[in-house]
Symmetry: C2
Subunit: 274 residues, 2 copies
Amino acid sequence: MSDSQGIDGATRIYAVWGDPVKQVQTPRLINPLFAAAGRNIVAVPFHVRPEALARSWEAFRQMSNIAGIGVTVPHKIAAAALCDSMSEAARAVGAVNSIQRTGEGAMRGALFDGIGFVQGLGAARERLAGADVLLIGAGGAGRAIAHALAGEGLGRLQIVDLDPAAVEFTADMANRAAGAPIAGPADSRPGDATVWINATPMGLRPGDTFPVDTALLSQGTLVADIASLSRETELLKRARALGCATSDGNDMLNAQIALIAGFAAGLEPGEPLS
Amino acid sequence: MSDSQGIDGATRIYAVWGDPVKQVQTPRLINPLFAAAGRNIVAVPFHVRPEALARSWEAFRQMSNIAGIGVTVPHKIAAAALCDSMSEAARAVGAVNSIQRTGEGAMRGALFDGIGFVQGLGAARERLAGADVLLIGAGGAGRAIAHALAGEGLGRLQIVDLDPAAVEFTADMANRAAGAPIAGPADSRPGDATVWINATPMGLRPGDTFPVDTALLSQGTLVADIASLSRETELLKRARALGCATSDGNDMLNAQIALIAGFAAGLEPGEPLS
């Protein structure tokens, strides 16, 4: 269905839940993909507050034309606890961002933040193999990215976060996923890393103190900054001034949306919608 | 918003609930009205089963971007019991088909079946004043129509139904609404009525036994049959063969959709959306 005038009684719903919800990009980005694939599915936003999460979950689970639910802040962890099953990434990180409702009303959670990040690198993804990677931020996004990086054959994953417990959790999870002790707290000069990844919101505001000295960034480094969507961050500005290859939040978002579209349409996690 | 590619985080939802829901026409008919009025509202179907009605109601009541809920079979009576307030027609009939969610989360029920029917008559509506009207069917639709007819200055309202209790309820309600004893069981020759209204599903299938002998229909009678949507009924066929003025279910549906669009957009019941 290509437009809301194509929404009919047989349309299935991909419900996007957030609090707030006005800022969500998913409906705007994903509906053209459903339309292009000829799927009668429409993504629609719902303002769901934390205290209404469980009740809303039960209600939507019982509606047979719900294709799935997308969750954003602040529901990613709470929704994981409600899922009947989860993808490996979702289980490892303890969070979901997309839930598929099966025909029987079972709710399958998945987390596409990490794999979306890696796929969003495009051709630069191949530079991860053997690389010394500096990951800045071990919150929700950082953990998801660390989990996906563990599958890319890194040489080393150095993690920076103000919270040592978050670094430890993330490194342990990445090491389990990789099956080798690749990850740990940053313990060398950041300038040695060949890939820098910012998974924090830092750098959008001029006054932000970035956790790593960007003066140490050197030419030839691959720099990804997921904080950057409509505006450039300080890190990306510096990287581009040096001629570094870069990736921003839009690359991650677009790759993720394609993965979510397939999952919402009933495919296995990672299968592209066509 | 003119299409699903215009659905964004700020879009408000008019949720259409039914069991089943595949057959609902509301999204297809109402979304162009929202778009034409520049309202960022989209109607979307939800398959809500009776046992999930109360839970779904509470969940949707708490979502601040829900504009309203449309209910169809089998929820019209059960939903009335959940409303915080109701329009006069909804209260009199004991059913709702559209619920407006106010900014504070209060749920205001309305029933547009009756007024939709009357408005759908178009110019023929003026023939109701002083008329002897034969209403066939005192179920949900018949009651709603009887309530609206009571405001049109009829001379008389004769009601036919297989269930005498339904006739009595409907006549009492219409008499209260009219403030005069205009309504009762059909007690004269149907051929005397100057307006015939079929508010039953009878007449769509060739084998149906219509509750009134259509051979009694005479030229010059206004004939409305809400059972007729995509197909003609036996009653309408006969009426058209006689050259009678006619009205069908689409007239009622289209008039109602315009009323529902206004109500969903936050207007008072009956205010047109513009």
